[in-house]
């Protein structure tokens, strides 16, 4: 049973996403910003992290950079979530508002439950 850490400051969005993922037998942990997110990463070591970009204290972009720079955690796949999507491409280096991140994948909010699950499964099977 894969462990997914969901890091997002929107309570309602987190609840909804948690419901979706738990129905597919994922074990879901939730954190509300990058600082709390790091605590949970260290404590629980998830198999995948779903990371919202716009968060207080430490945003997803920064947390992603830190994760990938740390050899202990760089292998955990990161799925970046945002409601601020303009024209971005998905690749090893994803472009987010002109910045580059090393996220493994990138998806817009809101996301169809089926699509979300598909992407997560794809990342986990790599």
């Amino acid at each position: 049973m894969a462990k997914v850490l969901l890091v997002d400051d929107d309570v309602d969005f987190s609840e909804a996403t948690k419901t979706i993922l738990e129905s597919k037998s994922f074990e879901v942990g939730v954190a509300y910003d990058g600082v709390e997110g790091w605590e949970k990463v260290k404590a629980e070591r998830p198999d995948l992290i779903v990371l919202d970009v716009m968060m207080p204290r430490k945003d997803g972009y920064e947390m992603c950079k830190e994760l990938k720079a740390d050899p202990k955690y760089s292998d955990i796949p990161v799925l970046l979530l945002t409601a601020v999507a303009e024209n971005v491409s998905t690749s090893r280096y994803t472009t987010l508002m002109g910045m580059e991140t090393e996220a493994d994948d990138y998806i817009n909010k809101p996301v169809e439950p089926r699509e979300l699950v598909k992407r997560i499964e794809a990342l986990l099977s790599r």
């Binding site: 929107d10 309602d12 969005f13 609840e15 909804a16 996403t17 419901t19 979706i20 129905s23 716009m54 409601a83 601020v84 303009e86 024209n87 909010k109 809101p110 996301v111 169809e112 439950p113």
Partner: protein
Amino acid sequence: MTQQIQILVVDDEQVMREGCQRILSKRGWGVALARDGREGLDTLKKNRFDMVLLDLKMPGMSGIEVLKEAKSVDPKLLVMVITGYATIEFAVEAMKIGAYDFISKPFSPDQLILVIERALEKKRLEEEAERLRREQEKSLHDIATEKSKMMTIVNCMADGVVVTDRESQIVLNNPAAARMLGIHGSNLVGEPLSRYIKDEVLNQLINEILTCRCSEHSVLSRELVVGERTSTHLRAHACLVKSDEGEMLGAVIVLEDISYLKELDRMKNNFVAMVSHELRAPLAAIEQQLMVLRDGFIGEVSEKQRHLIERIKERTDGLMTMIRNLLDLSKIETGQILYYKERTNLNELLRKTVELFSSQAATKKIALYLEEERVLPPVEVDRSTMEVVFNNLVSNGINYTPQGGTITIRSSVEGNYIKVEVSDTGVGINPEDLPKVFDRFYRVRSEQTRHVVGTGLGLAVTKAIMEAHGGSIKVESELGKGTAFTVLLPLSEKEQE
């Protein structure tokens, strides 16, 4: 009305006096007589005379004394002295102190007339010349006043003014221009324009103006940034300076400081971006929750409930789209979108669009056809925004075409453009609404279109993107029959042969 010439004869000899009077009156001139210097001077004080005939050798006050005094009163007085044949040197002395000419006794009436006429004519010409000179002085003064008035106005202008000659050398500038270009000391005259305006496109445009490669009435406008330390945003408007005879003299450039506007734009865009996020995040949460509800994740859902939830989601989708369009439009309008132009075969993009909408079209039983021009030359376009264009047009087609209709996308080459036509067999657009469809937030409200969820921004964004690519879009429609949108994109220069 020319007044009669008046001549005063001052001579102690009565014969002389009367003789002269006879000769001069016969000529039509007015004559006055004086017996001696004193009487002569008194008469001069009382009347205006064009000339004085003055005998030099007189008892009492001599002619020379009379001359001196008369001239001191009126330096311009024409005095002709009469001398004896043997006393020419007195005449010379008289002329040195202001006599105009002399005549020596004895003289014939003709000689007298001739000498006087010559003097009068010369005086008349001198007066005429004096008059003309004064007039010219006045004109020059007026011109100078006008000119300095203009210069004062130009120097007080808030906008910068720079005038160049045919070789792009600066011939005139005002302090505002010097300030905007960041130069201390307001005189840039003599320098080449390119020394201060490094913007290549502007310099090239000015070159075009100067070499008459564009219409004489065109004003070329361009935004540029100057200054190394603090960038100043300027807008330059350049046009031709022509003489009255049509000779091309140079160019005049007006510089507007738009730094303030740019700052406002930047603030507005930050605001728009901020608002956009603040609106989107809650909407995203609402949609996620709706999907969880709809898909039965928290309990079974009846068909009616599911349908309602779908309808709610459509409205929130609409809001999301509106926010995205507003943000796009704001960026397009303030030139913020970085268009990454690449050589593209439009047919490729069109196929992508067809694929994207095929299931939506199928649901409504609408046939979606693509008629490609087989050999379509590539164009330099930003792919993602061009996708937005075609997606918008097809989406509109589907929304406004009833069940069983048809949408056709046709690509072709027309002159120096690629033409893409998206036509449908939909409800059509009222002629009244037709000119307004590209307006922001404009939505056609009719019985058939009431249920369509839309923002009224799609076509505004589409048009803005087309214009940013140097292309155009137009629409034709017939109520009840259908609508056709035609998009034109310019071929790249190489392909234009």
